[in-house]
Amino acid sequence: MNRCMRHAAVFCALLLAAVLVNTARVQVVQAGKFTGNPANRRIAIERYHQPRGNILVGGQRVTGSRATLGQLRYERTYLEGPLYAPVTGFASQTYGATLLEGTEDALLSGTSATLDTTPLWHELTRARQRGGDVDTTIDPAAQRAAYAGLAGRRGAVAALDPATGRILALVSSPSYDPSLLSGSGPGVTAAWTRLNADRDQPMLDRAIRQTYPPGSTFKVVTAAAALQQGLVRDVMAPTNSPDPYRLEGTLVDLTNESDGCRDASVYDAFRISCNTVFAKLGTDLGPHGVVDQAQAFGFNDTRLRIPASVAKSTVDTGMGPDQVGLSSIGQFDTTATPLQMAMVAAAVGNGGKLMRPYLVDRVTNHNGITVSSGHPSLLHQAVSARTARQLQTLMEAVVTDGTGGNAAIPGAVVGGKTGTAQHGLANTGTPYAWFISYARPENVDHATVAVAVVVEDAEAQRADISGGGNAAPIAKAVMQAVLSSPVPTGEFSSPSGN
């Protein structure tokens, strides 16, 4: 009987050992498969179990969290949703997260290891980590000015600090309230369907995700190439260009909206935006001359992150001579995001140095300790300092004595370029009005703000004046807002109490 009892005991031991081995299978070997199962709600529950960290603008939070009675406890709220939607994106329990909410998700939701200043201690206590706060570089005054300037028209504004690359404003219009998408109920699904069906595409972040034909604003790039590569040495010298100009190898004659373009100097051609002069300059430069300069300003870059990815601004690298001519005046298949064109203006205003644009100033953990911060870094030396000075002369003339007079600010030096981009079948669509510019206080040697404005449904006629008429006042308002902000320039004091 002893032997049999031992057998029975061994049998029981085997049963328990089988359970133990199976435990290791479920909890370790196959755990990843089970945890990753889409039907497993744990990841979603854990994610929304605590209030999400906030996104800050100018030190003030523009997001919040609301406790609900549902299984997914906390929902995102937005204090001024439509104003900051192109910055924050949305954080939806149903549709995921976009823009900053998406790229900084690990920090905001608290899963990122970088938030943890005492990782060993937390490994021991296994405490749940709170979400961190993301402080943006946005200047609230500039953001408001841009949003008010667009006033619901379709369009976008991007503004930069040229010296650092800090993004000061990102506005897309018409906008939407991301808090409509926060939860998980049928109302969220309905809002999602409605927003996606809207012909105005309110969820499209036009400032970084939509590309437009840049039109005449691209002449800054063409002029930069001509000056940088020595094709033009004196901006005041005549360029020996005809009006109209026949594109090489075609029967197409290019004309101008303004008079006085025949044989005009680069200075005048830029000031009054002569298509003929710049098409000829581009053709003379050749495809490489234009494309290389455009790429030095950031075109054809698919890897730019601010940290949300920025749509690629394109200059065709395989163009014939006639296409180079058209590209040089921002037509053909050249396209650019508003942020890209702001970068062009910024590089000119910053003495040729193109700084990498960034949106996250710093990230703090729940205890207020900074765990990471953005630093200025050079993206490209777009043009030499000398070329930059020549370009500044051209762009400042546009404002003082050309198509961009609406952007002039008393007490500040402003350089700009208007543009009207034709689009649609046979260019019949309402043209896009562009204005790109930079500004600096008179006593500072580099620009402190650069702006690009696009207004899609410009009311005016198809004339360059529409860029100056519709877009330039918005750019002016944004630049003024930045120039009068105490931070980050410091040169202009804010209106004080006395």
Binding site: N2, A13, L20, V26, A39
Partner: protein, 470 residues
């Protein structure tokens, strides 16, 4: 176990190698068990509300009081009992209360269950004390073998008169109480099996016709009771849809039969009958059939677009725990929903204590089973040995059936995890099992040779008849 210990209380000079009582060891282990449970209770509160719950001291005092009373009973009436049995039971019961208290904090799981569970635990400890005090010699139980089996059958049949709860007719409800009489039947059947088998060992082991040279078929006369038990298991399954209980009864009987006779032929017969029954149930009974499908394809409801089944949720919970667990109070095992505090309580342990904690729990069960078998092995009387083996096997089988079920090792069958799961009948029954094991181990280790049973202890007449129960 038999080695003399330096810490033994040595009142008179021992004439022979003195077997130590080791009650001091038991007491210190009990203190440790209570402290571990209190720590768990406090940790739940700290994790959920950032503060030690106000009831911690009361809970600890209650558990400690119960454990001390049990310890005093053992110290006075079963001084030579195995010192590990009681602390393990206290620790498992304490952790069970912590887990239920933790699950009570989830409003989706219905009303609070921990206070009732504490009362049931107290009842269980009370019965433990009664058994330890009243049952002076475990062999007395053999006298009541047929009373036991009759009572067991009545208990098993009783739930038929009551409405089914969630598809299983295993509950008896009266005056606001609900009992699972099948739980008590386990112990009664183990007593009966031990008595019947010890009385009929010779007939079962040595009679019958040989076929195929080696395998000796049992005669019809002794085969009768085996078939009767098999029929009873199938009947329980068919009428009450209690897959787990029928599996347990049958396995228990086969194991005890093998221990009593040592004949592998019985195992063959048992396996044959079990597979027949399992096959028939799997094919004919839709409830069982769906359990088998769930076992083979735990995520089939997800694939069908119906969302995760309880078994899938249970697997998710275990997987979430990983090696170290999420920490008490920080898991999401409430997603399992219904029965999260009872059948699926192990999933909460797995998620919040991790593989480490779960291994510790399983080792505690293994140790409990091991001590049960060890007590039986040191006894001389066949009834006591069979009873010890049977009770230890009940614990092991229960752990295997429910732990294997919730972790998709075998088809899921409803059964309570001993001491951990919510359920008064279960916790009371397990305390009785431990009480009987304490008695048996006390007898096994008692030094007095006059008291030690010889090899041919008279078997009580009641068990001698050897007739099959009808």
């Amino acid at each position: 176990m038999s080695a003399p210990s330096a810490t033994a209380p040595t009142a008179p000079p021992p004439p022979a190698p003195q077997r130590s009582r080791r009650r001091g060891v038991e007491l210190s282990l009990i203190v440790a068990a209570v402290l571990v449970s209190m720590y768990g209770y406090a940790e739940v509160g700290l994790a959920r509300n950032g503060a030690v719950p106000p009831g911690t001291l009361g809970y600890g005092a209650g558990l400690a009081g119960l454990a001390l009373l049990a310890h005093l009973a053992v110290r006075t009436c079963a001084a030579y009992a195995d010192p590990l049995l009681l602390p393990i039971a206290v620790l498992l019961n304490g952790i069970g209360l912590v887990l239920i208290y933790r699950l009570d904090l989830e409003p989706s799981l219905g009303p609070r269950a921990a206070p009732a569970q504490l009362i049931w635990s107290a009842t269980g400890v009370g019965l433990f004390i009664v058994v330890v005090l009243a049952l002076r010699d475990h062999r007395l139980l053999a006298r009541y073998a047929y009373i036991c089996v009759t009572l067991a059958l009545v208990l098993l049949v009783a739930p038929i008169a009551f409405p089914a709860v969630n598809g299983a007719k295993i509950w008896v409800r009266f005056a606001g109480f609900s009992l699972q009489p099948g739980e008590f039947a386990k112990v009664l059947l183990a007593v009966f099996f031990a008595a019947y088998l010890s009385a009929n060992r010779a007939a079962l082991a040595y009679t019958g016709r040989k076929v195929l040279r080696r395998i000796q078929l049992p005669t019809g006369r002794v085969l009768g009771p085996v078939l009767a038990i098999w029929l009873m298991s199938v009947g329980v399954l068919a009428v009450e849809r209690d897959l787990g209980a029928s599996l347990l009864f049958f396995c228990l009987f086969v194991v005890m039969l093998y221990v009593a006779t040592g004949r592998t032929g019985w195992i063959a017969v048992g396996l044959l009958l079990a597979s027949l029954g399992a096959y028939a149930a799997g094919r004919l009974e839709p409830h069982v059939h769906s359990r088998v499908l769930d076992w083979l394809h735990p995520f089939r409801t997800i694939d069908a677009g119906l969302g995760p089944s309880q078994l899938a949720q249970s697997l998710f919970a275990f997987a979430d725990g990983g090696v170290l667990g999420t920490g008490l109070g920080q898991g999401y095992s409430y997603l399992i929903g219904f029965a999260a505090k009872s059948d699926f309580v192990l999933a909460t342990a797995g998620e919040e204590l991790g593989l480490v904690g779960l291994s510790a729990l399983l080792l505690l069960y293994a140790l409990l089973v091991n001590r049960g078998f060890k007590a039986g092995l040191s006894l001389r009387d066949p009834f006591g040995r069979l009873l010890a083996a049977g009770l230890a096997s009940i614990l092991a089988l229960q752990v295997f059936v429910i732990a294997g079920g919730v972790m998709d090792l075998i088809p899921l069958t409803g059964m309570a995890m001993p001491f951990l799961a919510q359920g008064g009948s279960s916790v009371v029954t397990n305390w009785i099992i431990v009480a009987v094991l304490i008695r048996i181990s006390d007898r096994a280790r008692r030094p007095d040779p006059a008291d030690g049973p010889g090899p041919d202890v008279p078997v009580p007449p009641a068990a001698r008849t050897g007739e099959a129960p009808r």
